[in-house]
Subunit: 195 residues, 2 copies
DNA sequence: AAATTCATGTAATAAGTTACATGATTCC
DNA sequence: GGAATCATGTAACTTATTACATGAATTT
């Protein structure tokens, strides 16, 4: 259950409500971890039960009351422990790759349409990464330089992996247009690095 | 529910039992889609209910009886329809990137240990891709060249994305060793392509 | 007047994991 | 003798999604 740990990570920057957390997820880690509002609200009482956070009701007159969750020492310890252990990779599930895998069943034009659509998606994602809110994170102030460094590392990962996927799709499209599959598997395999 | 569609894709190469399917998943698409035995057995009756497959009991004396599922015309049609539509991206959930994101909380040596472990994992995956069973798929014979082309395309994707991730991790390790985070965010960002 | 923001939650369902259960044959 | 292969399934649980429900204040 790493959603709980992601929440601990954010609470470490200061007390937050379920509502705050939802916004903060969206503004920062949403491209590699996002959570539904309902899931966040379901997880918060659990953090309290485990002793990782405490709740405080903050009364407001003009707006709905807030329930602020704060990280406890036990919570911070749990976070550090979790961060220090390489997390196992969850099984990847890519419907898109399943689709490509079985695309022998489709005529060229239909496969190409799907690939073009995916390529465009990736270009849009890249444009967002380079200009959008993710590249100018303002969702927390007075954050140490070192913390920001790691934030940007993940952004960098997102950019690099999107670029890599796009290169792959574009080359796949080209190979299909050339009719590479008629020449056997060689047409599908990228040359190995000649080192 | 794309597990159902992945199964349809395999049934399209001939009738299979739950047991066959489990092996075939492992030997081919496991690095981008894998399913537990229990999940496959839970899904199969559903395919039948939807009219996408039929079952036939094959009695065996020396071994347990087999329940062979065959694709129906409706099933093939469903498969083609699914293949022709670009599938929406499921939300990515990467505990590893969450971990990196919050790694400001950890001292250098602990972060580096986690990154090194992940780098080694990627090197192992790459070695497997290049020599292992995935690169010599024998799990189906008499498969058209064009089908194999798409199989190899997905393998190629796996190799390229593993290489891309490894490059990223190695450069991250280097930047941390150099103390790049002291110089602000510039140390974390890959130079933009100078075009 | 309508939409958005702020703020909380619950219920039903779907998808996936873990663990259990059985039993013959064949390979080491 | 023990492990692996062949072959089926079910039950309990966890995780995540979809959809519903409420309501004041502010912005368009």
């Amino acid at each position: 259950m790493s959603l709980a740990h992601a929440i601990l990570g954010f609470l470490n920057y200061g007390p937050k409500t379920g509502y705050d957390l939802k916004r903060v997820f969206e503004a920062s880690v949403s491209y590699f971890w996002n959570a539904r509002q309902s899931q966040i609200y379901q997880t918060l009482p659990d953090l309290e039960k485990r002793g990782w956070a405490t709740v405080e009701l903050v009364r407001q007159d003009d707006r709905p009351n807030r329930k602020e969750y704060s990280l406890t020492d036990a919570g911070r310890e749990e976070l550090r422990h979790w961060l220090g252990q390489a997390q196992p990779n969850p099984p990847i599930r890519s419907p898109f790759l399943v689709q490509v895998f079985f695309s022998g069943e489709l005529p060229d034009d239909e496969v190409l349409a799907v690939l073009e659509e995916k390529a465009q998606e990736l270009r849009d994602v890249l444009a967002l990464f380079e200009t959008g809110p993710v590249s100018q994170p303002v969702y927390a102030e007075h954050v140490p330089k070192r913390d920001r460094f790691f934030w940007y590392l993940t952004l960098d990962y997102g950019i690099e992996s999107a670029r890599s996927s796009l290169r792959w799709i574009e080359s796949a499209i080209e190979r299909i247009r050339e009719g590479a599959y008629e020449r056997g598997i060689d047409g599908a395999i990228t040359e190995k690095e000649t080192t």
